[in-house]
Symmetry: none
Subunit: 413 residues, 2 copies
């Protein structure tokens, strides 16, 4: 079934709010086997909404509308649906009764302007909304379904969970869409594409390759009668992709690099310490985004000056000879962090976040080292995408280097 | 001018990503006097994108497209535009030259599949993209404009700022919408609403009050013939709002709390050092998000263990007597950071990020202190909204406390 979402949020159109309702619905639609083709946001204008509804019903089997069901003059979603379908609105006695009861239960009388929330058209049934005054509309006409839900996320989500999703699940029968994302690092988008080669021609599952800030993602999407069948289809293709990509695959679906590295450390009973300059604390902050990271993270230094580095034991002669931004100083920062905090692994990062150069080295220059009981691992690169992206890339690269070091320690992990 | 946005992110359609590009563009379009009517998201499918482009060009004066300009088979935005406009693509010598130079500068040769990024149609001109391999397209045809930009936010935003927005500003003519956002901290949303009272009835500018992670924002939006006229209308209302809200207003528009505090420090020639446990480095990272922060930030400690705190000079007897999560330890962390790094101001934060409690104190417990030459400033609260939100709130609160301390030092600043 082809599905489409229309949101009616004025603030969205002026860029104030991200459209979390559409995001929520999109996430939940696929698990019901619905195939989402379009999402649109339309300002609260009767003519534009009714045009959007007409377009949507012309190309989709089911249309979800959120927002514009409130009591104010701006709220014209009901009128727009009625216009699009060429139907007249009437007061629904049952809906009016429930609305009066909603206000009475709160010791209030129904304001005149709220009465319009009890209106229906002949092809609509009201969907109860115990969290607010706006009932939803479930419309069926000429083999199409239109579901209108209120804009406040708490009301929309409850209506979805309790009423709309179960009803759709009953109607949808067996069909489901399942997707699986493999996350890689260390290989470029074009190269992953080439490696996967013929696999990319697959129709079910379809395979997409996407460059992200934490590496390149490979996404497999499968349609099938049920979850079991979907899994049976996706698993051999996933296994083939994993064989091709090898240990460039660091995780799947909701995994984060910091979570994966944290599990590896914790699994081996190992600990970590950091000393960073150009990421400015983002490395430590990313590591500690993981719940339970205090089990393996012993602490970090944001050593923003040469003086602070030296006070922590980084050797002055290295700084003098090679400059603060050098592979040698990165390695010594990693060593000093590890030793000061008695950790098994130390990470050192020095570089130029930008926008200005430092010691004649351009923004985006980064040196990273991981120190442990054997020879340190190190990497260097120069890539300038702006200060914040530079910080982020240094952190991702450092975590990937730590992962590689941990893998080499114990290839079975 | 009626504007419309089409984003091409497959992940969006399946609910993985919020559409930050559309959000970014929506926010910036209004300031150019463009009237945004529709936003849509379409999966990376040639037919659907070209249908979306045709629909959009049928009803808008200017269409913005983001995404789908990469080198892989999935990336079909160029083909879709060509199809929608009924034009043929050809290899552009200049674009090909730039693409080869991009790879050559990185010591690589141009992969065959990237060649399609140098394609153009007769009504398109390439927009340079120094941050990536995908140039944008600026298309003018039959009085309509279509602008295609790459999907990675860093590339899209740079292209917007350096190329697209200035060109549009020149073309936009007279009708403009200008908005002004006053950012406050320390007063709740409802209270700001009450304080502004009758001002909220204003029709031009309209005034909206929004709770955000960095406090409550008051947004004034004005429509006028031109920028001068808009400014004349908004300024007296802004001045009235500022009088009412007093020094709860810490900034406006694109100001960040870390940027404002950084300017205050730099303006007075003052320096800062930090010692944090529960934010795990996010405080230092936020401070160093500001370009030029190395002028006043002397460094930070992510003291994730009691042992590391003591090794940095935090007094053991305070930890024993009051626990690590206590106002006393926060104050001593601020002092130790300031003294170790010879800074004028020190910030100390200790607390429980969650999800587990610590020393019997619940997640969301936070103690913050600012140390300087006089008695330390301090604040404490408990509010648990999840680990990441807890980290963020601690940082915002600490920066607000530092701002208050700096204001008290010199009320004229």
């Amino acid at each position: 079934m082809r599905a489409e979402i229309i949101s009616v949020p004025t603030e969205m159109i002026s860029g104030e709010l991200l459209d979390t309702n559409a995001h929520y619905l999109a996430r939940h639609l696929t698990t019901l086997g619905l195939d989402l083709h379009f999402i649109s946001q339309v300002g609260d204008n009767l003519q534009r909404i009714s045009e959007a509804v007409r377009n949507a019903l012309g190309r989709a089997d089911i249309v979800f509308l959120t927002g514009g069901l409130g009591p104010t003059e701006d709220d014209v979603t009901r009128e727009a649906i009625a216009t699009a379908l060429g139907e007249e609105m009437h007061m629904d006695a049952e809906a009016e009764h429930q609305l009066r009861a909603f206000f009475a239960a709160r010791g209030a009388t129904l304001p005149e302007r709220n009465l319009k929330q009890a209106m229906l058209i002949p092809s609509a049934r009201a969907i109860p909304n115990p969290r607010g005054t706006a009932p939803g509309w479930w419309v069926e006409k000429e083999g199409r379904i239109l579901v209108a839900m209120p804009g406040p996320p708490a009301e929309m989500e409850r209506m979805w969970e309790v009423d709309v999703a179960p009803r759709l699940a009953r109607q949808a029968g067996e069909g489901v869409i399942i997707s699986r994302t493999l996350k890689t690092i260390g290989i470029g988008e074009g190269r992953v594409d080439e490696m996967l080669g013929p696999l990319l021609k697959s129709v079910n599952p379809t395979i997409g390759v996407y460059a992200k800030t934490d590496g390149v993602h490979v996404r497999l999407t499968v349609k099938a009668r049920g979850r079991e069948a979907a899994r049976d289809i996706v698993e051999p293709v996933e296994a083939a992709a994993r064989r091709i990509l090898g240990d460039a695959v660091w995780g799947a679906d909701d995994d984060t690099l910091e979570g994966v590295v944290g599990r590896m450390l914790q699994g081996h009973g190992l600990t970590l310490a950091t000393m960073e300059s150009c990421p400015g604390g983002l490395l430590a902050s990313t590591i500690t985004d993981v719940p339970g990271s205090s089990a393996y993270f012993k602490g970090g230094y944001v050593a923003y000056t040469a003086r602070m580095k030296m006070s922590l034991g980084v050797r002055a002669e290295l700084i003098e000879r090679h400059g603060v931004v050098s592979p040698e100083v990165a390695a010594d920062m990693a060593r000093a962090a590890r030793e000061n905090l008695s950790a098994d692994y130390g990470i050192g990062i020095t570089g130029v976040a930008g926008p200005d150069e430092l010691e004649g080295k351009p923004p985006g220059t980064v040196h990273i080292a991981v120190h442990h009981s054997r020879a340190p691992e190190a990497t260097s690169y120069t890539l300038n995408q702006g200060r914040l992206a530079n910080k982020r890339r240094a952190v991702t690269t450092a975590l990937a280097l730590l992962r590689r070091t941990l893998l080499a320690r114990n290839p079975s992990s």
